[in-house]
């Protein structure tokens, strides 16, 4: 099975993240860069499906030069090869442009299954799976907490507030995963040593037959026009216990969907 896992390098969730003052795009220098957390689960799922069904796992990432670090880490987990799309003209691209670029890469690599995290921790749009599936003309299987396939058909559990839906589709397909799906492995030392010998193809927009005018901030349908810092945390809700404190606390938690 030809499995492609999409990986995005994002600023570390645990470090302070900022947008740039000049064009409101992400300030990539302000924070440590890591693999988007949900993409770790996507990689793990890709590797597990490969272990069960054979074939290859290819990592595809669009991002600056530095994203090569994220690609190397993905390869050290066990993926076979990678494609890195990098071009100065891509800076500031929104989801629509990103999906066009990635769809073009997927046209080159071919695929039976595309796996990605259901959202990135920086932009948090969560729309890429849908856009890609639409562009590629294949089923979108979103928010998967479980994936099963026999090589021609795919069945997932789609995570929902009330539990899950069992959704079935035909391959090829695009699957986005949630963190419930598995426990990502840590790269082994052998995997780390092997990663540097694995093929990484670097592509520019021109290599994909695209023009700089089709990418970046200017070509994007959406753009951040202004931003404001999150206001300081307001005082919390105080529940006075009049014999029903437990029930009130539970009600509050339920209203926020914690329970």
């Amino acid at each position: 099975m030809n499995i492609v896992v999409l990986v995005k390098q994002v600023p570390d969730t645990w470090s302070e993240r900022r947008l740039r003052a000049d064009d409101s795009t992400l300030d990539r220098d302000a924070a440590d860069a890591v693999i988007n957390e949900l993409d770790d689960y996507a990689i793990e799922e890709g590797l597990r499906l490969q272990e069960a069904h054979g074939g290859e796992v290819t990592i595809v990432s669009m991002g600056p030069q530095k994203a090569a670090d994220a690609i190397r880490k993905a390869l050290s987990m066990g993926a076979d090869k990678a494609v890195h799309v990098t071009d100065e003209a891509l800076r500031g691209s929104d989801g629509l442009v990103t999906s066009a670029v990635l769809a073009s890469v997927l046209g080159r690599t071919g695929f039976d299954l595309v796996i990605l995290g259901s959202e990135s921790t920086d932009a948090r749009m969560g729309t890429l799976a849908a856009m890609l599936a639409e562009r590629l003309g294949v089923p979108q299987m979103s928010f998967a907490s479980k994936v099963e396939t026999d090589g021609s058909k795919i069945t997932i559990h789609r995570q929902a507030d009330y539990g899950y839906d069992t959704v079935e589709g035909a391959l090829p397909a695009v699957v986005s995963v949630v963190e419930k799906i598995n426990e990502p492995r840590y790269p082994s030392f052998k995997g780390i040593m092997a990663a540097k010998k694995k093929p990484v193809e670097t592509l520019s927009l021109a290599d994909l037959g695209m023009d700089a005018s089709q990418a970046g901030l200017a070509a994007s349908a959406t753009q951040v026009v202004s931003f404001a810092n999150r206001p300081p945390r307001a005082a919390g809700t105080i529940v006075t216990d009049e014999g029903d404190g437990g029930a009130k606390a539970a009600e509050f938690l339920a209203s926020r969907k914690f329970i």
Partner: protein, 380 residues
């Protein structure tokens, strides 16, 4: 291993320790065991052989690289590093430095894949000074027969291989006539006693090991000749000292992190105790010790790797860092006040765990003797 690769290894180890082991510390303390899934993950990662040569399935980490990993291991319970510490350290290094090709071929790949090697030197009257060693290996036909009792043997209940020190020349005194044997733990006559009940370091198992007329082939003799393994074994202890010093630094970092976090959140008299200068002084003292220790370990490791100093530096680092972390643990408990005396609080556990560092792999007193002798005999 190149820097870029090592950076990835270090990152993987750091994340593993902090996200997978630290949250399980209470469980390790309560069950006195490293959970099976952590051992499995450590095996898969390659932790059981990271200092062993690459051609035998290891990573071939230098001591300078080893200590940077040890700073990370030290951040969590020492039981975690103990699990694979004997493989990469004292026991494994004997094989690396003086095993025959056949011995290396037979054991090192297995160790790299998670088999456990245990270092059996210590006896009731042979600890810091091995000259009182009484375990015997008597030549018998094509092999040897071993008999004797070892104690405080780390990982003995888990061991697949014992690296055993025994006297092959009964007439010899002192450290002469001592040879080293590779003893398969499954051999008839090898018996491991119940796990020792210790002050701290729960989850790190030690036990007595009895060798009752254990017959080994002559191929079990390290280096293929009598007396060959002993000097090498002493050298492997030297390397281990720098590693232990690095573990102490890692623990001091953790003690500091716990203490700072507590000092910033715990209030007395309406303000966080971290605002009080006497508390700040304690934090400053922990930080300064950890900082000095880190620099010292890096220097000792660099000089060990380049062979510029394999005598004074390792002992000085082990002496300083083990004393330093003892003091840091004491201060960390003090910062926590009454809470620091309570079970379930990390600094209380580390206070007990830290005590061993001044004792094992050469007591502080022995380190002073080594340093002092070297100074008087050879100059600095």
């Amino acid at each position: 291993m190149q820097d870029a690769e090592f950076a990835d290894v270090l990152d993987a180890v750091r994340r593993f320790v902090r996200t997978k082991v630290v949250p399980r510390e209470d469980e390790i303390e309560e069950t006195d065991a490293i959970p099976a899934d952590i051992r499995r993950a450590a095996t898969q990662m390659g932790l059981f052989g990271y200092t062993l040569p690459a051609e035998y399935g290891g990573l071939g980490a230098t001591l300078s690289q080893d200590v940077r990993l040890a700073f990370e291991f030290g951040y969590t319970t020492p039981a975690f590093r103990s699990l694979f510490g004997t493989n990469n350290g004292i026991a494994g290094q004997v094989l690396v430095s003086s095993g025959t090709d056949e011995q290396k071929q037979r054991w090192l790949p297995r160790l790299a894949e998670g088999a456990i090697a245990s270092f059996a030197l210590t006896e009731a009257e042979a600890g810091s000074d091995p000259s009182g060693l009484t375990t015997k290996a008597i030549r018998d036909g094509d092999g040897y027969v071993l008999s004797g009792v070892k104690r405080f043997i780390t990982n003995a209940p888990l061991a697949d291989l014992f690296v055993v020190f025994a006297r092959t020349d009964p007439a010899a005194r002192g450290t002469r006539g001592i040879s080293v044997f590779l003893v398969d733990a499954g051999l008839h006559g090898v018996r491991v006693g119940p796990r020792d009940r210790k002050m701290g370091q729960a989850g790190a198992w030690t036990a007595e090991v009895l060798f009752d007329q254990v017959r080994v082939p002559s191929t079990a003799l390290v280096g293929g000749q009598e007396g060959a393994g002993f000097a090498a074994a002493m050298r492997s202890l030297v390397r281990g000292r720098v590693h232990i010093a690095a573990i102490c630094v890692g623990m001091a970092d953790r003690l500091l992190a716990e203490s700072v976090s507590y000092a910033k959140s715990a209030c007395q008299g309406g303000q966080p105790i971290g605002e009080f200068q006497l508390v700040q002084a304690m934090l400053a003292e922990i930080k300064t010790g950890a900082y000095a220790g880190r620099a010292m370990v890096a220097e000792a490791a660099r000089n060990y790797d380049s062979a510029a100093d394999r005598r004074i530096g390792p002992s000085a680092a082990k002496l300083f860092c083990s004393e330093m972390v003892g003091r840091a643990a004491d201060l960390a408990v003090q910062v926590h006040g009454g809470l620091g005396y309570m079970r379930g609080i990390p600094v209380e556990r580390m206070y007990r765990d830290a005590r061993l560092f001044r004792i094992y792999e050469g007591t502080s007193e022995i380190q002073k003797l080594i340093i002092g002798r070297a100074l008087v005999r050879d100059g600095n």
